[in-house]
Amino acid sequence: MSDVRWPLWEVFVRSRSGLEHRHVGSLHATDARMAVEHARDLYTRREEGVSLWVVRSSEITASDPAEADALFAPARDKVYRHPSFYDIPPEVKTL
């Protein structure tokens, strides 16, 4: 193996039964077409999916772990945001 450094891509697969694409991992590729082909070869070998998305890892903006407290802790004491304070009428079977 040579020492080529290809850009990193993130891979999302939509499974046969699923509605949404889920992140499954990453890979190296020089361009988008190659990334889709590598994703097919690496992540759908066992019929895992029916659709693929790839995106350059460098295009992803992530939240800062140091800010996790400021970003996510305020939601902790707001239990009323969970829809668990309603009386479900008996007629409603599937909720």
Binding site: M1, S2, V4, W6, L27, H28, A29, T30, D31, R33, M34, E37, H38, R40, D41, L42, R45
Partner: protein, 249 residues
């Protein structure tokens, strides 16, 4: 061996030899993702070869299995196209060889889906689906290399001119090909050429490469005329079964 069994060997051996060649890249490709890409294509080709060899062995009726045909035939009994046994060379040479044959198999298996031989038609239907992806994969690389750096362009151009003469055999029917066409088992080979030429031409022009002039000489791997590389390749592939006959996992 019947004419039809002999014809099946031509199809099977081209896929089998290509599979073995691509397998040799595993661990050596430019990236681990590419190891897997080439191995996936190799496994498709191996699967095609197994079905075709099994069928050829049954038609022959001498009890030879797919394994006997793959591991216990000498080079001169192999019927693969000469192009398939050209050495791997550098990555560009492997890719160009693969692309020219993928595009050929794409036309061939596509036409074989309407073979008068129902079992062959079913094998071809499966193979045609796999081959559609193979052309896309190898064609993508031809464009990437041809339209890439000065070095990659020079390598892919060199591979193309070295391999092109071996494409003459693809569309040059001999009496066996002609009898298969008469029986409706296979298409007349000449019918495949326009589609192949158009598909190859499109990719080559996108890759900024010229279609080489038609070959001046012909080599007939499908009639058992092989270069020395096939002997080395088979020696490695067949070693275990030759040294330990009948060995199993």
């Amino acid at each position: 061996m019947s004419a039809r069994a002999e014809f099946l060997l031509r199809l099977a051996d081209t896929s089998l030899i290509l599979a073995q060649q691509l397998g040799a890249w595993v661990g050596h490709a430019p990236a681990i993702e590419e190891d897997l890409g080439l191995a996936n294509v190799a496994l498709d080709l191996l699967g095609q070869a197994r079905l075709l060899l099994t069928y050829a062995g049954e038609l022959e009726g001498r009890g030879r299995t797919e394994d006997a045909l793959a591991f216990l035939r000498d080079p001169e009994e192999y019927r693969n196209l000469a192009l398939a046994e050209r050495p791997n060379g550098d990555f560009a040479q492997t890719i160009v060889r693969q692309f020219l044959l993928d595009a050929y198999q794409h036309e061939l298996f596509g036409a074989l889906t309407s073979s008068s031989d129902a079992r062959l038609a079913a094998i071809a239907a499966n193979a045609a689906r796999e081959t559609r992806y193979h052309v896309r994969y190898s064609g993508g690389w031809v464009v990437r290399l041809g339209d890439g750096t000065e070095d990659s362009h020079a390598r892919v151009a060199r591979a193309l001119s070295a391999l092109w003469p071996y494409t003459a055999e693809l569309f040059d029917p001999d009496p066996l090909d002609e009898s298969m066409a008469r029986e409706g088992v296979a298409p007349p080979l000449a019918d495949l050429e326009p589609g192949w030429r158009a598909a190859v031409g499109t990719v080559l022009s996108e890759a900024r490469l010229e279609l080489p002039p038609t070959a001046a000489y012909r080599w007939y791997g499908k009639r058992g005329e092989h270069g020395e590389t096939l002997g080395h390749l088979l020696a490695e592939m067949q070693y275990l079964q030759r040294a330990y006959p009948g060995a199993t996992w």
